[in-house]
Amino acid sequence: MLGVIAYFQTDAANYINLVLEHVTISILVLLISMVIAIPLGIICSRSEILQNISEHLFSFLRIIPSLAVLIICIPFIGTGWKPAVIALTLLAIPPILLNTIQAFRTLPEPILEAATAMGMGTTYKLFNVKLPLAFPLIYTGIRTATVEVIASATLAAYIGAGGLGSLIFTGLGLMRVDLLYIGGISVAILSLGTGFLMNVFYKYKTRYLQIK
């Protein structure tokens, strides 16, 4: 316990830096994943074949350990945050992609027909009807991905990408239990806290689903 207090007295600035690194890398990964997975999911939902291919491919990618991807990346792009971002993006894409496909395949037909019949163009309908209706499922995928990415970003420190994982690896190397605690608990709080905040936002955005 004393070690923990001492750490924050001397290394608070460093700690905040690590948290920021962790958060930055996670946000970057999630943004890249969404930009890839949501449009890809929408395209895949239109074709049975594309849907099957992407579902199998990404279900397979999902079972490869992130650490393995990290290390495989090193010969090609070296160490640092770049391979970490690639590995974590591969981890984050499947839940978002699969949920996007599912959401777009289950849009209620009468509502889409009403939208068309009211004179909505394709793009207008996508942004004002389809995406809002698909939001709950897509968002659930994003939330799953977020929690996974924050937790797994810890590993990124292993190849020099920084973040709270650095604390854990330092703690392991120096046999400093206090650092292990600080690192581990911080990651847990960050991950659970983000999940909680995302739930609150979800409830707010989908209040139309909850009222009766």
């Binding site: 509502i111 939208a115 019949a117 209706l133 139309y208 009222i211």
Partner: protein
């Protein structure tokens, strides 16, 4: 309403079908088989027929949700094949049995859909919402900020009507709009749609499989069977001079049901 896809010429029918044929893939028969019909402006035409007779196909061709294989459809004298379908639909009200309200939008936002597409200014939209809710007998204060999930089936369909009527379309298409609504509410809604039509004098085309509803609401009734129009006449004419056995059989089901409704409708 001048110019655009529904700009009116003179002495034109609101809706005209000329030799319209339609067959869906993997179906052995024609959904519409050489349909010819002319509907005058201001008419309330009900289309009566059993499932699969082509009545839904008929109205979905008017707003180009379906495309004819053959023939021409003209609205106010203009062939709709030459018009932009998206722009055309903005001038045609459309109400369906499943209602199709947007669940993520409030009642007010649902009604504001077409006005927003048409880029009305805010005051005009607000007035439109208020006016439409009153027209369909829903208290604006109580209902405008509710979500569809907070409404009964009958209330949802009232909002569906309000949403379709707000831009004052010259043609309204209604596909069994009251089919899923309980008998008492259906009766009320029938009376209201009749009143709304009488006030507006727009052209209404209303699909139903309920003969009482067809005779009660229609100024003219189209009776369809197997992709053909069997008879197109006023309700009175149909009752007095049914043109063939199919119509006679339909009318028999009516006598078994109830006579007073027909009396009540003033036929």
């Amino acid at each position: 309403m001048t110019g655009g896809p529904l700009g009116k010429g003179e002495n034109m029918n609101a809706v005209e079908f000329e030799h319209v044929k339609k067959q869906f893939p993997r179906m052995g028969y024609m959904a519409l088989d050489d349909v010819n019909v002319q509907i005058n402006e201001g008419e309330f035409v009900t289309i009566l027929g059993s499932s699969g007779c082509g009545k839904t196909t008929f109205i979905k061709m008017i707003n180009r949700l379906y495309k004819p294989d053959f023939g021409h459809i003209r609205l106010f004298g203009k062939d709709i094949q030459n018009s932009n379908p998206v722009l055309l639909r903005r001038k045609i009200g459309y109400v369906i049995q499943q209602v199709g309200l947007f669940p993520h939008m409030t009642v007010a936002e649902n009604i504001a859909t077409i006005p927003r597409i048409l880029k009305w200014d805010k005051t005009k939209i607000e007035n439109g919402i208020e006016e439409m809710l009153q027209l369909v007998s829903l208290d604006p204060k109580e209902f405008r900020d509710r979500y569809p999930a907070q409404l009964s089936g009958g209330q949802q369909q009232r909002v569906g009507l309000a949403r379709a009527l707000v831009a004052n379309p010259p043609i309204m298409l209604l596909d069994e709009p009251f089919g899923a609504i309980d008998a008492i509410n259906r009766e009320n809604l029938q009376n209201e749609i009749k009143r709304i039509h009488a006030q507006s004098r727009k052209t209404y085309i209303f699909v139903t499989h309920d003969i009482r509803e067809a005779l009660k609401l229609g100024t003219k009734v189209i009776i369809m069977n197997k992709g053909h129009i069997i008879q197109y006449a006023s309700p009175k004419e149909i009752i007095n001079n049914p043109c063939d056995n199919f119509v006679i059989d339909l009318l028999k089901t009516l006598n078994i049901q109830n006579n007073y409704v027909i009396d009540g409708a003033g036929i």
